[in-house]
């Protein structure tokens, strides 16, 4: 598929208190980012299990991004600190298995950073679009016939 036609599927997990609010703010300010991004609301970034990320890739996602409060600003005080360790290790493992490290990302976006949210999503979609379809973590059964 030529790059220009390829529309990646992006799953964005956003914590309820900062990043989801940041995404809302991007909306309120009419800041455009590609429609390829679909947001799933979670209470805290620490709610995101590595299983969910792999599941997204299995089901056809081309990129998964996790957004939470800035370290130190977690609504639950420490949640994102655990997220940070878990995801660093998970991403490193995926890289170790030869899976493109650009397909996964963690970004800290506060409720006030609507512009950052939009910018992050634009950049992530661009990166994943350049990478093309997720082949290395795909489940062939889930591909649409």
């Amino acid at each position: 598929m030529p790059i220009s036609e390829f529309k990646p599927k992006i799953v964005a997990f956003c914590c309820n208190w900062c990043s989801y609010a940041g995404a809302d703010l991007a909306g309120t300010n009419r800041l455009n980012y590609p429609a390829d991004v679909k947001i799933i609301r979670v209470p805290c970034s620490c709610r995101v299990n590595p299983i969910f990320i792999l599941r997204a890739f299995q089901r056809g996602a081309d990129g998964v991004i996790l957004c939470g409060c800035h370290p130190g600003d977690c609504h639950y005080t420490t949640g994102n600190y655990y997220t940070r360790r878990r995801m660093t290790l998970l991403f490193s493992m995926l890289d170790y298995l030869g899976i493109e490290k650009e397909r996964t990302r963690v970004e800290w976006v506060s409720a006030a950073e609507g512009a950052k949210f939009a910018a992050v999503m634009q950049d992530f979609v661009k990166t994943v679009t350049e990478l093309g379809e997720n082949k290395r973590l795909e489940d062939r059964r889930c591909k649409k016939p």
């Binding site: 299995q58 600190y81 940070r84 360790r85 660093t88 290790l89 298995l97 030869g98 973590l137």
Partner: protein
């Protein structure tokens, strides 16, 4: 050592200090070793064995065969003590019902290495000092022990016992044997090479669960991959994705808890170097969050349930700063 162990086990049984002994027994061939519970001096005299083939980690066996109402003697090699300590930290075994004896280990022989050399029809095998003598239907062979020792023993992390009530033989030390060399070699490859390497390895997986069931860190009452309620249970890898999924998540679930005992790779019927997944996590943890050895002491806090406010950002992976 074997005779001293038998003597001590019988003493403890006779004194009533313990009523059960967990050790190893010989099975069909010289290299066939089965973990076992011994309840009498006769059983010990007849079957008890400790030699260079006693690879199985008795900590997992102890976990599966624990009894709370009586005291059990368990013989533990240095690497088994790490697993035992970790199990105690996680409240998975009742320390009060155990009498632990630390025993020395001089490295275990990997029969698969001998087989991979084309040696077959083995009638007997003996390990004496640095020599391993194999008698076969097709002629005899002698190996240098270091050449046929298990990989995990060549890269032994420690001859030190992290827990025991009693120690037999001399206490050893934590060692530096380059156990991360293989991980580093993989890290140095290009992503495509790494992908090729792991596809080649993991595609051999038959999902027999031997790695998981032998793993002393995998003691879940019900594994997420067996429990249909999790939505990710699987019985066979119906797609290469599921091979990745199973092994990534299994490694992740034991990350920070894996003591690097190497049982996963020992039991894999398909010779998949599964320990290289666990070691990658250990390596990353050491580098990013400070040296950490699971099972070093009771009550340790695993790095995955810990943090500092200035931990590295996940970006470090993408930016290749590590």
């Amino acid at each position: 050592m074997q005779e001293a162990m038998k003597k001590r086990a019988k003493e403890l049984l006779a004194s009533g200090e313990v009523t059960r002994v967990i050790g190893w027994k010989k099975n069909e061939f010289d290299y066939d070793i089965t973990p076992a519970v011994f309840e009498s001096a006769e059983e010990i005299d007849r079957d008890f064995r400790y030699d260079d083939f006693c690879g199985p980690n008795l900590s997992k066996f102890t976990f599966k065969n624990q009894k709370n109402d009586t005291k059990t003697l368990v013989f533990l090699k240095p690497c088994d003590t790490y697993s035992m300590t970790q199990l105690i930290t996680e409240h998975r075994v009742n320390r009060d019902a155990l009498y632990l004896i630390g025993i020395p280990c001089f490295g275990k022989i990997d029969i698969e290495k001998i087989r991979a050399d084309g040696t077959d029809g083995i009638l007997s095998i003996a390990s004496e000092g640095a020599d391993v003598t194999v008698k076969t239907l097709y002629g005899d062979k002698t190996y240098v022990k270091a050449d046929v020792m298990a990989e995990r023993c060549l890269a032994c992390k420690s001859k030190y016992h992290t827990i025991y009530d009693e120690l037999m033989g001399e206490e050893g030390e934590v060692m530096e044997t380059g156990r991360f060399n293989e991980v580093e070699k993989l890290e140095a490859m290009t992503p495509d090479e790494r992908f090729g390497f792991w596809r080649g390895e993991l595609s051999r997986c038959i999902r027999c669960n031997a790695c998981r069931n032998a793993c002393p860190a995998c003691t879940c009452e019900s594994c997420v991959f067996d429990n249909p309620d999790t939505g990710i249970s699987q019985k066979a890898a119906a797609d290469s994705f599921e091979e990745n999924m199973f092994h990534i998540i299994r490694a992740f679930h034991v990350a920070g808890r894996c003591t690097d005992c190497g049982e996963c790779s020992r039991v894999c019927p398909q010779h998949i170097p599964l320990h290289l997944l666990n070691r990658k996590f250990i390596r990353d943890i050491d580098k990013l969050y400070g040296e950490y050895q699971a099972g070093e002491e009771v009550g340790q806090r695993s790095p995955l349930v810990n943090f500092t406010t200035d931990d590295a950002e996940p970006d470090i992976v993408r930016k290749g700063g590590k």
